[in-house]
């Protein structure tokens, strides 16, 4: 570059920097609560990911019919990881945030710890006690900072059960009735025995992936990835050690279909009948249904998770938070309160199979008595309700997603590359520590 172009470039950089800062700093402070007119026309944007189904369950329409002045627009991102990436950059810039932002359990701890100030604190609302009473205490706790600020209200949860293929069980000479299946695997050791028995007679694998075992059993202990204060302890956690023990056995003995969950081959394996069981958080039912379509109706049934008597476990679930600096904070709060209220959570379960995070909703007859015809008429309301009621409050931390991925990647390594479990654990721990550190 000659001298004069370099000069221009520096000038340009300065100009660009000025433009960027100007663009980022243009947030008006929120309208004061006192000025809030609940009947003024307002358009609310809701940032969501995956299939949160507020639209499919008809809740937006219902709310807009109840409040004709409100227009709701949803900005959905297909993958929660991609959604979280853009949420991070928007939080960093404090710009471009929707009036309401959905927060997944995989990153709620990070938001609670690092961005609590950016969201409305529900514990400061006049009806805070009533709101808190709407939710399972562990669900409320997951969105609450150590100072007691609650930054989001719960939507669904992921209480777990175990889905199994009746047809494949029958071929292998295993019981197919869900009560008998429950007796078949009261513990994870019994589940692994059933797997060995199954694989001695069948070509298909018993379970889709070692991750299925790991991700569901890791939350059955007192602690999973974090200590009581939410600090990651992947190497010393008793929950990780137990879950790794079961899952690495299954991986090493070839009891799994060696699939990576949410990969292309995993998706294809559903309709190819490549595995007979899969850990089923409530939301997995919809996933199985969408992968197999009508051809899978009546093939599956649902039994309790192995070890359910000792501890239920939760995988997934989400929250709705209201960014504190938005222009429509009061209207957004009204909508979030309504969307997460027990009555709406019941509708979310009956219309879209999202299990409630509200105890009242879970005990509602509409949920309790629900059966799922696709899953052989399994009493899903009762199965997941019991699981949800027994969930312990396992401390969550800011790096749970990354740590879980490190361990499930290590399990895949055992299954597909024949790495020894000890070596794989060491590698997984290094990957987890790389994610935590820095």
């Amino acid at each position: 570059m000659s001298r004069s172009t370099r000069g221009k470039a520096v000038f340009g950089a300065a100009l660009a920097a000025a433009l960027l800062t100007a663009g980022c700093g243009s947030d008006d402070s929120s309208a004061a609560a006192a000025d809030y007119d609940p009947d003024a026309p307002v358009t609310l944007t809701v940032g969501t990911f995956g299939t949160m189904d507020f639209d499919n369950a008809g809740l937006y329409e219902e709310y807009m019919a109840l409040h004709p002045n409100v227009t709701i627009e949803q900005n959905n991102v297909a993958q929660s990881a991609a959604y979280y990436k853009s949420l991070q950059t928007r939080l960093a810039a404090n710009s471009g945030l929707d009036d309401i932002q959905a927060l997944e359990i995989g990153f709620i701890a990070d938001v609670v710890r690092n961005h609590a100030d950016a969201f409305v604190d529900w514990s400061q609302e006049e009806n805070a006690d009533e709101l808190e009473g709407n939710f399972y205490d562990w669900k409320w706790g997951q969105a609450t900072t150590s100072d007691g600020a609650t930054i989001a209200l719960g939507t669904d949860t992921g209480p777990q059960a175990m889905c199994y293929r009746k047809d494949l069980f029958q071929e292998a000479g295993l019981p197919t009735d869900r009560a008998e299946v429950a007796e078949l695997w009261p513990t994870w050791d019994a589940y692994l025995d059933a797997a060995r028995q199954y694989q001695s007679t069948s070509d298909a694998a018993f379970v889709d992936s070692p991750a299925s075992i790991f991700s569901s059993s890791v939350y059955q202990g007192e602690v999973a990835y974090n200590d009581e204060d939410g600090n990651p302890i992947p190497g010393e956690s008793e929950g990780v050690e137990r879950a790794w023990g079961y899952a690495s056995q299954a991986a090493e003995e070839g009891l799994t279909a060696n699939l990576s969950q949410f990969g292309d081959e995993w998706n294809a394996a559903f309709s190819n009948g490549a595995f007979a069981t899969i850990a089923c958080p409530a939301w997995m039912l919809g996933y199985i249904n969408s992968q197999m379509g009508d051809s899978g109706a009546g093939l599956w049934d649902i039994a309790p998770l192995p070890g359910a008597a000792e501890g239920a476990s939760n995988w997934g679930g989400s929250f709705l938070g209201v960014p504190a600096d938005g222009p429509n904070v009061e209207a957004a709060k009204d909508l979030v309160e309504w969307l997460t209220a027990p009555e709406q959570q019941v509708k979310m379960f009956t219309e879209a199979a999202h299990f409630p995070s509200s105890e009242q909703a879970a005990e509602d007859p509409g949920v309790q008595d629900a059966v799922n015809e696709y899953f052989s008429g399994a009493p899903t309301g009762a199965i997941f309700g019991e699981s949800a009621a027994n969930i312990r409050r396992t401390p969550i931390g800011p790096y749970d997603t990354q740590i879980q991925e490190a361990f499930t990647t290590g399990l895949t390594d055992i299954a597909t590359r024949g790495t020894s479990p000890d070596q794989a654990f060491e590698d997984a721990l290094k990957a987890a520590e790389q994610a935590i550190g820095g």
């Binding site: 433009l19 990969g263 590359r417």
Partner: protein
């Protein structure tokens, strides 16, 4: 991906233009500047855009790489000097990714350029439907990486992939393409090669067409076979073009990212269960956008840039030495 785009453009700029003419004596310079001011005005928009979207992110990336900070706190964080760089050099993940980048780079660049040269030579003959073949050859380049890689990921699938079905049909064992170190790297190299061979072939073809026909006639009169003509007329005349494609392909290889990311099939950034195909680009993405350590990611981006600078520099030196030797 401002970090990546920052490095690629910078690297392209950093490569010295071949055969730069010598500037005339200094006193005339001021007059030329004023006389050509419209010329500068016309190129100014490019440099403004370049400054805003390349130079500024580039320098900002350098600044971030000196901090311990997260994606959501990009302007804050703690100044830690060169600690990120020291950690990077001590990190086995970095060296693993660097090794993978090198091997995948060799596996893809070498066959790619050799095939491109051969293809260009064939297309240089007067063929029927030449335009058709040339267009077809450029098609992979026009295909989006995402679409192409998704198709290839299906081809290389372990349980239901077309290639394994074919292997089984002829009595061979199925290959778990993704799990193996060599197999996964070969699969990714195939995707890269498929995509860029046609592009390079067209560049070679354009250069071949500027080789004077008399050279070939003279060679033919001397009794040189087609192969000898290719070896002793075509290749030497293409030398600057080959150097150019080597530099461009190498830069592309160092930044390889989309293919390994999509090859995993489920959006994970670890590059296989043992990181067997994690490239530097993927490692940077994992650090910054999966683990949210943007300071580390910026450091890796700068490391990649420095690697590219070294490679381009070595290439330039080789090119200069050769042309001096010929003079």
């Amino acid at each position: 991906m401002t970090i990546a785009s920052g490095t690629v453009r910078e690297a392209a700029i950093a490569a010295p233009p071949p055969d730069r003419p010598d500037f005339p004596a200094r006193p005339r310079r001021r007059r030329r500047l004023t006389r050509n001011r419209w010329g500068y005005a016309y190129v100014a928009p490019f440099f403004l855009v370049f400054a805003a979207f390349s130079l500024y992110p580039f320098l900002y990336t350098a600044w971030i790489s000196l901090h311990r900070t997260s994606l959501s706190n990009i302007n804050g964080g703690e100044f830690i000097g060169l600690e990120n760089y020291r950690n990077l050099l001590e990190s086995e993940f970095f060296w693993n990714a660097a090794r993978n980048t090198l091997t995948i780079g060799i596996l893809s660049t070498v066959p790619q350029l050799c095939m491109a040269l051969g293809l260009a030579h064939l297309l240089n003959y007067k063929l029927r439907g030449r335009t058709f073949f040339r267009t077809v050859m450029l098609m992979p380049y026009a295909t989006s990486i995402a679409a192409a890689t998704l198709v290839f990921a299906q081809l290389f699938g372990r349980d239901y992939g077309l290639i394994n079905t074919g292997l089984e049909a002829v009595g061979l064992d199925r290959i778990d393409w993704e799990a193996g170190t060599v197999s996964s790297q070969v699969a990714i190299a195939v995707i890269v090669t498929w995509r860029w061979t046609g592009y390079n072939a067209l560049i070679y073809l354009a250069a071949m067409q500027s080789i004077p026909g008399e050279l070939y006639e003279a060679a033919e009169i001397d009794g040189a076979s087609k192969w000898k003509q290719f070896l002793h007329v075509t290749i030497p005349s293409l030398r600057p073009t080959i150097l150019f494609t080597v530099v461009i392909s190498t830069i592309g290889a160092v930044q390889l990212f989309g293919e390994p990311l999509l090859f995993a099939g489920n959006g994970t950034t670890s590059g296989g269960s043992a990181g067997q195909y994690q490239t530097l680009g993927l490692l940077m993405y994992q650090q910054g956008w999966t683990n949210f350590h943007i300071g580390q990611a910026a450091t890796t981006a700068w490391a990649m840039f420095l690697i590219i600078l070294v490679i381009v520099g070595v290439n330039a030196v080789i090119g200069r030495l050769r042309s001096r030797a010929e003079r």
